[in-house]
Symmetry: C2
Subunit: 112 residues, 2 copies
DNA sequence: TCGATGTATTGATAATGATCGATACATCGA
DNA sequence: TCGATGTATCGATCATTATCAATACATCGA
């Protein structure tokens, strides 16, 4: 059996660098155990909202660390923070989570 | 208006550390522009399969770098590699992608 | 067996990121 | 206005990671 060539490269519909970078940015914001737990805490909280001060103890992390993670989630558009008095109440942006799930729904080519 | 307390912390059903670490590991494997493009290339390739040598040129990366990314995808269970002669043909593990998408489907609490 | 080709590993380097103490900023109650 | 409390930023440190040259390993064709 002669094997001169590998296989025929057909890369139609492949993510370009910009699309891939954008999606990777969203995924990176979620690809951390602490931030996943924050997201699940916000999803489980009454009204889908919690203030940062509530997160430190269950996460077992210092306040600047929690603030750091909330900032990353905020800059990725996964959460929004609304100040109410001394506290900032964070809530999920479900549309952004849906966007991530949609980005992972690959369009496979038709079987030949 | 008196504001002595923040809000009532109710964190039932929150991801524990092990679950969060596992999901974060899967997400980290995808949270890279190069690896997202590799995944989309495999999804678009004939038969859902491509060999590593095909990826270097369109990605514009050196061979060890592509091999590095394929290894990360492989160790995360997102792709499998099958050697055929000199070449290793990689294909997607769609079940693993579904697992990620399912992990991002949050179970929101019932409205009160 | 030998040279060619595809793949994996090693080692080094530069960049990114997680963490926290210290500190500054914002808002409330008194 | 002042002290208390929640939040954000700064600076430093340590760990992780993306990249590639060099090299080793695997397989094919001759």
């Amino acid at each position: 059996m002669v094997m001169m060539d590998c296989c025929t490269p057909v890369f139609a519909g492949v993510l370009d660098v910009d699309e891939a970078t954008h999606t990777a940015g969203l995924l990176s914001a979620l690809a951390d155990p602490v931030r996943l737990r924050i997201v699940s805490m916000l999803a489980a909280a009454q009204g889908g909202t919690a203030c940062g001060c509530e997160l430190e103890a269950p996460l077992g992390l210092a306040q600047p660390t929690v603030s750091h993670h909330l900032r990353i989630l905020r800059e990725a558009g996964l959460v929004v923070g609304e100040r109410r008095g001394r506290w900032v109440h964070y809530s999920l942006v479900l549309e952004r989570l849906d966007e991530i799930r949609d980005a992972l729904r690959l369009r496979l080519p038709e079987p030949v």
